[in-house]
């Protein structure tokens, strides 16, 4: 029922094998077992690990979209270690919650979270964008366990997520669907086609999370093609919209674990591009500027590594 298996690309193309590194997501289990008051602190520690992994991986590969990777880190960390019901050793388990990273250019953040969660060994991150690596600049579901769709072209994740949510409802499953969107990509009209569909169908099992860092590749979103009032736009399309601090693990955890309502939910997560590294924060050039080795050292020092 789940389509092709990971790593079976149906052709004679060498691919480095990626096998699950863990039977279960130990770190998520640790967060779940902790006193609720301590969970944000544990998530913050994991997010720091992910940020360090992002900086190291991009620094070594000399390639990546570091600014967006760092703005979306707390969202992905909270989802994978505090919210999603997924199984690293059984990535196509039919009743898993679906996580779709629509902003596929921030693959390194996703890869880092997946590796930390046990979907594949962390050493594999060293192969990022090397020739024939399964870890392409954008994620490929047939090569990387835990990936649901081959995103990268913008505006594709939300329609896909709507389909996932309709499928869950048809199957009578309680599984949930989370789609993580960039803010700039909301300029793609396909998102709003999907937003209408989800609102019309009252897909309460669907959550869209907007990484609202305010910057797109070339400039601020508001200087390019204005998005605000963003939450009101979602409300007008029949969604519940919530605005939170996208780096506040407590707030993210609270909103992501609210029971599904009568409407799809949009979480506008206010974030800072390049978050955690002083010289990258809120700087448009770090959309895909690669830090120098010296800057990597400085960034890691700032992240406490």
């Amino acid at each position: 029922m789940q389509g092709a298996e990971v790593q079976s690309t149906g052709r004679d193309e060498p691919v480095l094998p990626l096998r699950a590194a863990a039977e279960r997501n130990e770190r998520a289990a640790e967060v779940a077992a902790a006193d609720p008051a301590r969970r944000p602190e544990l998530l913050a520690r994991l997010a720091a690990d992910v940020r360090a992994s992002v900086v190291r991986t991009i620094g070594a590969a000399r390639f990546g979209h570091v600014g967006g990777d760092l703005s979306v880190t707390d969202i992905l960390t909270t989802l994978f270690f505090g919210v999603l019901r997924v199984r690293p050793a059984e990535p196509t388990w039919p009743d898993r919650d679906r996580l779709v990273l629509s902003k596929g250019h921030c693959a390194v953040s996703l890869y880092s979270v997946l590796a930390l969660a046990g979907f594949f060994p962390r050493e594999a991150l060293e192969t990022f964008v090397r020739p024939l690596s399964p870890l392409n600049g954008h994620p490929n579901r047939r090569k990387v366990p835990g990936v649901e769709a081959n995103t990268g072209a913008l505006g594709h994740g939300l329609p896909f997520g709507v389909g996932c949510a309709v499928a869950a409802r048809l199957a009578g499953s309680q599984r949930r669907v989370f789609v993580v969107l960039g803010d700039g990509e909301l300029q793609e009209g396909s998102n709003w086609e999907a937003a209408m569909t989800a609102g019309h169908r009252r897909l309460g099992n669907l959550t869209a999370v907007v990484d609202r860092n305010g910057l797109q590749q070339g400039a601020r979103t508001e200087a390019t093609n204005r998005l605000e009032p963003l939450a009101d736009k979602w409300r007008a399309f029949g969604w519940e919209a919530v605005e939170v601090d996208g780096h506040d693990h407590q707030a993210l955890l609270e909103v992501f674990t609210r029971p599904p309502g009568e409407r799809p939910r949009c979480v506008v997560a206010r974030t800072v591009k390049g978050r955690g590294v002083s010289f990258m924060e809120d700087r448009v050039e770090y959309h895909h500027k690669v830090p120098t080795p010296e800057q990597v050292r400085q960034a890691l020092a700032e992240l406490g590594r």
Binding site: G10, P94, R142, H156, F160, V162, G163, A168, S190, A194
Partner: protein, 315 residues
């Protein structure tokens, strides 16, 4: 469409066979869904909607959404049949077809309704003469053009069981039955509908019976034309094409499309593996006003026009 065409006895609208087969599949397999863009009527999905109201996902007039939603449904283990007018499905949803279905390798069946110049007088905005060219360029996607109701049914069954996405052209122009009754459809396999060694006419879809009629005309001139049904544009039956080149020495392709669809696909094989003279017949440019049958004749895709092209090569 002219009254004369609709009244012609013994001709069939492939959309009817398509819809009947889809309902039959859906009765047997709960994974089968229909997804459409306000196209219940034009895709002949009324029966499906009545019988399986919960399994019809109508997203409204939103083709990017429609294809992306289908990929998400496939992710959940369903087999969506995406039914929409061919021009909008393929042009509007092209990037979703490429990334969400083909590159992500999700199994959905894209049913391009009323393709080619099927919408006749509605004009080139509603014609889909580019779809075969665009879609055959996409890796992992099968491209199939059935010729008559029986082949449509067989192709629908094959597509439902395929591993990966499939594009089916489902025509509205009434056509006679030309393929052997009950024959299975096999992706990547051409079938020979008429034997001949002087020239090959390779066609499919609504122009296939015209190719057969052209072969009759050629026979009266002493030319024996082989007629190949290349309903499977991708994968392509390379062996059948090479045999045709070897044994007949000349190939004419006929399609309701710009010639970079079927013609281009065949020529890519022929020019590299067994060069022989070819004529590629198709739709040369945006069509003037007219119904589908008129336009096919207008562009020389009638038996006489096809025979004339074959005579140029074989005469």
């Amino acid at each position: 469409m002219s009254a004369e065409v609709q009244a012609r006895p013994g001709t069939f609208d492939c959309r009817v066979a398509f819809a009947e087969e889809l309902c039959a599949l859906a009765r047997a397999d709960p994974r089968i869904l229909a997804v459409c863009n306000d196209s219940v009527g034009s895709s002949n999905l009324g029966g499906f909607a009545t019988e399986f109201p919960d399994r019809l996902v109508n997203v409204g007039i939103a083709e990017q959404d429609m294809v992306g939603v289908a990929a998400g449904l496939a992710n959940g283990g369903y087999v969506p049949f995406v039914c929409a007018a061919a021009p909008f499905l393929t042009a509007r949803g092209l990037e979703q077809i490429k990334n969400d279905l083909a590159y992500s390798h999700y199994h959905a069946v894209l049913c391009g309704m009323s393709p080619g110049m099927g919408y006749g007088e509605l004009g080139p905005t509603h014609h889909s003469i580019e779809d075969l060219t665009w879609l055959r360029a996409i890796d992992e996607l099968a491209v199939v053009v059935p010729a008559d109701p029986d082949e449509t049914r067989a192709a629908v069954r094959w597509a439902a069981a395929a591993d990966g996405p499939v594009f089916l052209r489902i025509s509205r122009l009434k056509v006679p039955a030309v393929t052997p009754a009950g024959a299975p459809f096999v992706g990547g396999k051409a079938t020979e509908l008429r034997a001949g060694r002087d020239v090959t006419i390779a066609a499919h879809g609504v122009v296939l019976h015209r190719a057969l009629e052209a072969a009759e005309l050629l026979a009266t001139r002493g030319i024996q034309a082989r007629v190949l049904n290349l309903s499977s544009v991708k994968p392509l039956d390379v062996d059948a094409i090479l045999r045709a080149a070897e044994e007949t020495g000349r190939i004419v392709t006929v399609e309701e499309s710009v010639v970079s669809g079927l013609g281009g696909a065949v020529a890519e094989v022929v020019c590299q593996r067994r060069p022989v003279p070819m004529r590629l017949l198709g739709v040369p440019h945006f069509a003037p006003t007219g119904d589908e049958r008129f336009l096919l004749d207008h562009f020389g895709l009638d038996p006489k026009g096809i025979a004339a092209a074959a005579l140029e090569l074989a005469g």
